[in-house]
Amino acid sequence: MSAGKRVSRIAGGLGVAVFWLGFWQLSAILVDSSFALPSPLAVFSRLSKLIFERDFALSVAWSVYRVILSLFIAVGLGVILGALSFVSPLLRRLISPAMLAIRSAPVVSFIVLAMLWTTSDYLPVLISLLMCLPVVWGNVLQGLGAVDERLVEMASLYGVGRKRVWKQLYLRSVWPYLNAALFTCLGLGFKVTVAAEVLTSPKYAIGYQMYVSKLVLESEAAYAWTVVILLLSLLFEVWLKYLLKRRWKRRESV
């Protein structure tokens, strides 16, 4: 990207940010209740103090750890189950209703049901994993189904080994679908993990901090924590985009 283009892109992004901050400020003036809707200035001022508080780093680190852990397990399990379901129609028929049920049921049902079983600090990981698994599984299955059968036929005619066929044809076909699943799950992971943390209240968690803010009627802190979640989500999305782009570029230059 040229320097001129980059500057205009950054200026555009800043313009959008200024527009929404202005909208927020205007809404705060109209609502005229610092409890219901504090002004952006008040929230960012609270945030600037919040980041120096003792539990901030620990809470952020634990929440991020839970999101990443659930994402890793969901991707690993989703890829394995997706691949197995692709080769075994029986397994696909068995798994499909479970995935549909997980996808359709409200997140809060799972949190409440899971709380009947355990109150572990890792419960948000389980909930996030459950929410992400059907997305990964479904996308992997869809990607494998989208493989060009003509290429598979060509490979079979030349007796190309299964490993090479999976690596060069199936994996490449799945890759865009897996990418899409990763981005969906990253956003979903943050949302679901924090929601579960609010209800299960582990000691170090963004969700727990939000719950406490609500409990002590400190709405500026609750908004500040929401900003933290948004920033973290954005940061990880940009990082993931960068990682995937770098991997792609490396592949193209081989």
Binding site: A155, Y158, G159, V160, Q168
Partner: protein, 237 residues
């Protein structure tokens, strides 16, 4: 010699082959010339082992299996030219053998300078040569070609046919080429089997008494053969 004996194949209630027999001479190019839908591609798929005959026998097929040049060129879009060729090579080949096979096949198909390019950075004609290069690199003794020049513009088609003739004259590969185009058959084959169907049947077998290299349609012998083939195909309609 490859022999097809009393082949029968039925697909979805249609009998495509019914007692079809033909012999194909080794080291030669045999063109199966006939209208679309007559059953030529089905016969080619039986020779490739992609389908099995309901009845009949196939004899003299090489143990390694055939190489196949598809009508809809089977090029892997995310692999560059040499990776596309390497994809089909046996995994137990040594690196030296693989490199040699790739180099030779890319030279023959005039793709050497483009070996690192992805298929989408190639012209239609260049991309369609990848299939041929892959087939040649495997070193298989039988090559099956299903309308390999279909959909190409005339200039490109003539260029590719010339290349194909040259490659075939330099190798000992047996080739069976399926086409519905008179000129493709005349410019590339040693033997032309005029067929009709379904069920597929032989109308006539003609020999082309010319070397494969340097053939042109202006040659009086080819011109006469063309007239004959044209009348045969029209009378079959």
């Amino acid at each position: 010699m490859i022999r097809m004996e009393q082949l029968r194949k039925q697909k979805g209630g249609t009998v495509i082959l019914d007692g079809f027999s033909l012999g194909v001479r080794s080291g030669q190019v045999t063109a199966l010339l006939g209208p679309s839908g007559s059953g030529k591609t089905t016969l080619l798929r039986l020779l490739a082992g992609m389908d099995l005959p309901d009845q009949g026998r196939l004899e003299g097929l090489p143990e390694t299996g055939p190489a196949f040049v598809f009508q809809d060129h089977r090029v892997i879009p995310w692999l560059n030219v040499e990776e596309n060729v390497a994809f089909a090579l046996p995994e137990d080949w040594t690196v030296e053998r693989r490199v040699k096979a790739i180099d030779e096949s890319l030279n023959l198909t005039r793709l050497s300078a483009l070996r690192r390019r992805l298929p989408n950075a190639l012209s239609g004609g260049q991309a369609s040569r990848i299939d041929l290069a892959r087939a040649l690199a495997t070193g298989r003794r039988l090559m099956l070609l299903d309308e390999p020049f279909k959909g190409l513009d005339l200039e490109l088609k003539l260029e590719l046919m010339e290349d194909f003739g040259l490659i075939m004259s330099q190798s000992e590969v047996t080739a069976v080429l399926v086409t519905h185009d008179l000129d493709e058959a005349l410019l590339t084959a040693d033997t032309i089997v005029v067929v009709s169907g379904p069920p597929l049947r032989i109308v006539e077998v003609l020999e082309v008494p010319l070397a494969k290299v340097g053939r042109t349609m202006f040659d009086p012998a080819l011109h006469a053969l063309r007239q004959r083939l044209y009348h045969l195909l029209v009378s079959e309609k």
